[in-house]
Amino acid sequence: MNKIHLEITVNGEARSMMVEGHRSLLDALREEAGLTGTKKGCDVGDCGACTVIVDGRPVNACLMLAVEAQGAEILTIEGLQPDPDTLHPLQEAFMEHGASQCGFCSPGILIMAKCLLDRNPLPSDEEIRFGLSGNICRCTGYTKIFDAIRTAGRRMAAARAQSVEA
């Protein structure tokens, strides 16, 4: 199988790698780029554990070929922290509310929640539920995840309002 030269930007860092045409973006991220934070729960688009942001949109990395991401900007869980010493407000809230148990769903859910809050900082309960409908969590019953997203949204909105005032 011939390999294709792939250039992508992951979490702000330019990366280049050789990938086979059949490689999924998920496998390329995990194996070629060594970014194992993104998880494989099903490999067929049903669980959301592999959710990453490609050019601003959340997608299942298992349902996309690596070569299809040519030139794309990708954000994975490893890029969610604003800097190495600071957690994203969502991560803070996940800690506080116990929104992560086994944690296998957490990278995908955090990425999905970021997309949701970036677009809509104060989502209703219905909007949160709808936003997570492609992400399976089998440990938490989702209640703590909903709480954490609401908390993070409120804090992010407040911080934004403050920085506008300042």
């Binding site: 998880k39 992560s100 148990q101 296998f104 990278p107 399976i136 089998r138 440990c139 019953g141």
Partner: protein
Amino acid sequence: MTKHEFRIVGKSVKRQDVIEKITGEGRYTGDYHLPGLLSGKIKRAEIAHARIRRIDVSRALAYPGVKAVLTHHDVPRVLHYGSPHPRSASCTMDQYILDDRVRFWGEGIAAVAAVSEEIADEALDLIEVEYEPLPAVLDIDAAQAPDAPLIHDVGPGGNLVIPPVHIERGDVEKGFAEADLILEGEFSGGRPVPTYMEPNVCIADWDGSNKLTFWTSTQTSFMVRGALAEVLGLPLNKVRVLVDHMGGGFGAKQDLFQHEFLCALLAKKCRRPVKMEFTRRETFLAGRSRHPFRLWLRQGFRKDGTLTAREMKIVYESGAYGSHSPGVTNVGTASATSLYRCENVRLDGRAVYTNTPIAGAYRGYGVVQTYFAIDIQMDEAAEKLGIDPAGIRLRNAVREGDIAPSGHPVVGYGLEACIRHGIRAFDWAGKRAADRHDPANPAIRKGWGIGCEMHGSSAYPGIKEQGNAIVRMNEDGSVTLLTGAAGLGTGAHTALAQIVAEELGVPFETVSVVHGDTDVVPWDIGAFASHTTYLVGSAAKMAAAELRQRVLARAAEKLQEKPGHLEMVEGVILVQGQPDRSITVAEAMGPSRGIPAEHLVASGSYMPTKSYSFAAHFVEVAVDTETGIIECRKVMPVHDVGRVIHPVAAQGQIEGGIQQGIGHTLTEDYVIDRTTGRSLNAGLVDYKMPLSMDMPDIETVILEAAPDPGGPWGAKGVGEDPIIAIGPAIANAVYDAIGVRFHHYPITPEDVLNGLRRKAAESSARD
């Protein structure tokens, strides 16, 4: 219990393991990569019962990139158990690594190692198999038929996995004679599977000294070590099992899944590390389910609702191998001695082999099935006798001193407190008096129901359990806890650290937990049966208490005081009554003139008594009478956990259990074709777990009603409980909504519509 001001226990401190999980840095077994790593894949049978007449791997072996292929000709033929509880008398030796016989659709029949997953996968297609089909036994009835084909030549006879479990107490005939009302019914349940999000995965690597290092996602690392050593013929110190983070287990990841042995043998053959990762489909085909069951229940009641007699027969479907059937049958059958007190009981429990996927351990172990039946019949009795359903439960709820399923007297009884609390907080009477109609939608009927449960913390006395912990005080005052308990995602390690910090008198942040390396940590039977907090927690508390004495003794020497005059609070050692005289733990541990720095170690081992947790669940459902769809809208779980160590983690356990319980009751069923034994829904779309949009509002209540003297500060288990009571609560609420009784799960929309039709036909026949 003496009154104790808690500093750390009972607070939702930050879970140490969670930070790694939410940053993506936490490593799960599948995240590990070794140089030269090969990929292993399993060829799975596509027939339910057969003898392998011929298996030809020559084409697969010749395929470029393939490094090794194993069939039953190439592996040691050692009979072993799938559920390796070495201290339990009741495990079944009925499995081979690979056999010349297939006993269920999906069983592994060969394994390939290759340089990539794709190549290994492609090579599977090149393996040619010729079967001699055998008649397949595909359900409980077929297994019990007099002339049923036999699936194993071991076992007590017929397709029984173990000799029937028989329990008899009191005088059942007399009890029924005293009854004003006798109810009899048959119950059954489908095949829910745990569906943890992390598919099974392992990596095997051998070193030059013939030592096996084995990374895996298991709840029972020491048992994996034991089984690998036994089957591969190695001493225990030549097998090192490593478990880092794991993505859920819910009980099922206590077994060995065949791939562990194959992975180790492939690695040995190739002299290279091998990784085997299940696809999601394989987690269905080769994973474990709850036991499907058939149950017959007959109970006698007095007019006031008091139970007078209970007779139950249950048959659990074990699938192709025994796995946890001995434990499940014993625990499940015994569970029917209790929950609602009854002096006269006669119980019969069996487990049978069938040519279907293996049923194993799953949260609620054997009890989900029996309490489903008992709690539904309790509702029927309440209705017949004109008593409130919550009232009849209060009348019969197990009390302190009653004989528990384990045979021990019950210590503390939280059940009554749970029911009473829920009656008030849920506004039970108000809701049950409300209109069943929904003004917004004429097709909807609402209903409210209750279900109860009790479940033991730890598997004692079925298994002689022991909790172990080692606590080290380092020379800078920081503390290391070593535990063999796996971190399956429940926050148990945090709870253990809290217990150590509390008992020692140091800040929570100074305690770190080492786990998951069988070469380093103390032996542990495994993280299951709600055992970790209760049993290992007690051991950790003992170790911490001893360590505290030794630290104080050392500090006393430095302060020239009697140890008895010292106390340790938040890492500071104070002389009682002399607030100006204190040193930090670090100062106590560090060197000073004439006293070299020291590193103190204490260990604790704890043998349990038996403790029970209790719960009552109150639910609201809405039934669409045109589509038959049942929506669970509200749940109020009220749980007694003795003492809550980490409230948020305990709530999370409860809410996750409810999610699974709702699924089992309404939508989840792993379906095996009744004619071929083929699986029909091995995937996350057709195996329907409730997702974000489907979850009800849950208002969790945790009570500390009945602390257990055996647990740390009275703490008991919480992991198993929530999945048990929710099922009958939903079934009872559905009856309340539409007046149709269901004696099985899952209750499908078709069942609802058929039930409504039956009811309409009956009432028109009456008119």
